[in-house]
């Protein structure tokens, strides 16, 4: 069986859940070969996880240059592996960083690129929801090695313990790969909440909150549910919440088990980023808000009454 290269998504070596999803997906049509790119000493933190989710092989490239430069190093290393391993496909997670790497790998290897796939069949036909999920397209790469960017939460991860063969990859980068140097990384908000795109539950706030400080209501509800916090474009434009948390057409696309929209009207801009959520709950005082046209459960009411009551009720049920 041909190898399927899976780019490991991690934070300083701690694997993200989407990595397990990609390994599970890879197993359906080939032999999963994880590609770990990180700083020296970080692979040790991912090793066990990759084995648990069935990596048959792990290519390990550790170098300070990998996170030290944007785009070039990862693309160069991964493209070289594609050339050497002739895999059936390359799978990467649909994160801002990895989709850029995937694109460069496709360009370098003269291969086709498919982004935001939500499914991939054994004969490598990818499913995508385009135009904010209003059209479902299936497509196939017709040239080179398919490079497929897969959305988090598309596959249920299944453990398949293995003893992967490890292969150390020598990191010898061209000068061109080292053009965009990272001189500092600044943490502005450490929330302790799950990643927005990976979260099983997302609670988002919008214009109806009326002020930045009212996001505390959304955060409190989110923390009760172990959820990530999102925001509509209206809320981020107003400066109430960081741009990184924006859900919608010009922000992140999420597909959690449960999406709770608080004070969000649900115009196409927002809908495009969340309508594939499994269950959608909306709280809005305007009965005509478009979000009620596609919410599974809609509550017409004042969020300042409803949300604290909901938070308290969930806490009560958890305690009980």
């Amino acid at each position: 069986m041909a190898e399927v290269l899976v780019l490991v998504e991690h934070a300083d070596g701690e694997p993200k859940k989407v990595t397990a999803e990609l390994l599970t997906l890879a197993r359906t049509f080939g032999e999963p070969a994880a590609v770990f790119l990180g700083a020296p000493g970080t692979y040790a933190k991912a090793k066990e996880y990759l084995a648990q989710y069935g990596a048959a092989k792990v290519y390990v490239a550790e170098s300070d240059d990998i996170a030290g430069y944007i785009g070039g190093p990862a693309a160069e290393i991964l493209a070289k592996l594609v050339g050497e391993a002739s895999p059936a496909a390359v799978l990467v997670a649909a994160t801002a960083d990895s989709r850029e790497i995937a694109a460069r790998v496709a360009a370098r290897t003269d291969s086709g690129l498919i982004w935001d796939a939500t499914a991939l069949s054994a004969d490598l036909v990818a499913t995508q929801g385009i135009f904010g999920g209003s059209t479902i397209v299936t497509s196939k790469v017709t040239k080179g090695v398919p490079v497929v960017v897969v959305r988090p939460n598309s596959t249920a991860p299944e453990a398949a313990p293995s003893t992967p063969a490890e292969q150390t990859v020598e990191v010898a980068l061209s000068d061109a790969a080292k053009g965009a140097k990272v001189v500092d990384r600044v943490v502005e908000a450490k929330s302790g909440r799950p990643d927005l795109t990976e979260a099983q539950v997302v609670v988002s706030g919008g214009r109806g909150l009326g002020a930045a400080e009212h996001f505390a209501l959304v955060e409190k509800l989110a923390d009760t549910l172990g959820a990530a916090v999102g925001a509509s474009r209206a809320a981020t434009d107003a400066g109430w919440y960081p741009h990184q948390n924006q859900v919608g057409q010009t922000g992140k696309t999420v597909s959690p088990q449960l999406y709770i929209a608080v004070g969000i009207s649900g115009a196409i801009q927002h809908r495009a980023g969340m309508q594939t959520s499994k269950t959608i709950v909306a709280v809005n005082k305007d009965p005509e808000a478009p979000i009620f046209e596609f919410a599974d459960y809609g509550l017409v009411g004042d969020l300042f009454n409803v949300v604290p009551q909901l938070t308290a009720e969930i806490e009560k049920r958890k305690a009980g």
Binding site: T138, K140, A180, Y297
Partner: protein, 261 residues
């Protein structure tokens, strides 16, 4: 500073977008077409760099004849000149072919800096900045929420958006910079700007003019192909309840019934 900024004409953000029934490319005929909203931030950033450091802003686009409207908009915002790559053979180009074609045109302009935006609202790939950096062998400064150019030192520094903050990234010029929304407040074209745009130089190139091989672009050169395209099954509305004072409890009951809490 010789500043190049890429723009794309797309279906209006608020329009219901469709694929063309015949060739499954984006249907541009049944909708209003506008400058990709994200590109307005790119044009604004290019103009700000010019205003701070002097130089010239060249707009580059690839698209059908109608895309000249988007060029006009960029020129009326204040860009100096434009190059329009337009050829029926380019219709249906994927991101990889588009980046190769744009890179070919951009390289003839010898830019100090190439500005692009985070994504187009039709295809939403979010990869053009990375692809241009790859094709032009220039540093990739994408996801920028702040750009600082130091022409004397020949350097550019950006704040690259990260999930929990940002990375400070620097490169020597020339470089490719991809900007995100909220980096600036795009200006509206003034009446004077609109009048002036009509007289600004515009070069139109065919694929052959740009030195592109027709087999490597358009639908013929695409590295992927659509197998099927169907409208998504409509998502119907569920239970709508009016708050009678126990709305929060009602929502909790729903969540419990769905085994979500």
């Amino acid at each position: 500073m010789n500043i190049v900024v890429t723009v794309k004409q797309v279906p209006d953000t608020w329009a219901e977008k469709k694929l063309d029934a015949a060739d499954r490319t984006v249907d541009r005929k049944s909708v209003d077409n506008v400058m990709n909203e994200m590109d307005e931030y790119g044009v604004e950033e290019a103009l700000k760099i010019k205003e701070a450091h002097g130089g010239e802003v060249t707009v580059v686009t690839m698209g059908p004849a109608k895309a000249v409207e988007t060029i006009r908009k960029a020129l009326s915002m204040g860009a100096d000149k434009a190059v329009h790559l337009s050829d029926d053979a380019l219709h249906g180009s994927d991101a990889l072919a588009t980046s190769a074609a744009l890179a070919k045109v951009i390289s003839t302009l010898s830019p100090d800096i190439v500005i692009t935006s985070s994504e187009a609202s039709d295809a939403r790939g979010g990869v053009i900045g990375a692809l241009l950096a790859e094709r032009l062998a220039l540093p990739q400064l994408t996801q920028a929420r702040k750009v600082t150019v130091d022409p004397a030192a020949g350097k550019v520094t950006i704040e690259r958006l990260a999930d929990n903050g940002y990375a400070l990234v620097e490169a020597s010029l020339p470089a490719v910079v991809g900007v995100v929304e909220k980096i600036n407040q795009p200006r509206y074209p003034s009446f004077k700007g609109i009048m002036a745009a009509k007289k600004k130089p515009l070069t139109t190139l065919t694929a052959a003019d740009a030195g592109l091989d027709a087999a490597s672009v358009g639908l013929a050169g695409a590295a992927s192909a659509v197998v099927t395209a169907e409208p998504a099954p409509p998502r119907s509305s569920g239970t709508i309840v009016k708050d009678e004072g126990d709305g929060g409890t009602k929502v909790a009951e729903f969540l419990a019934a769905q085994k979500l809490i």
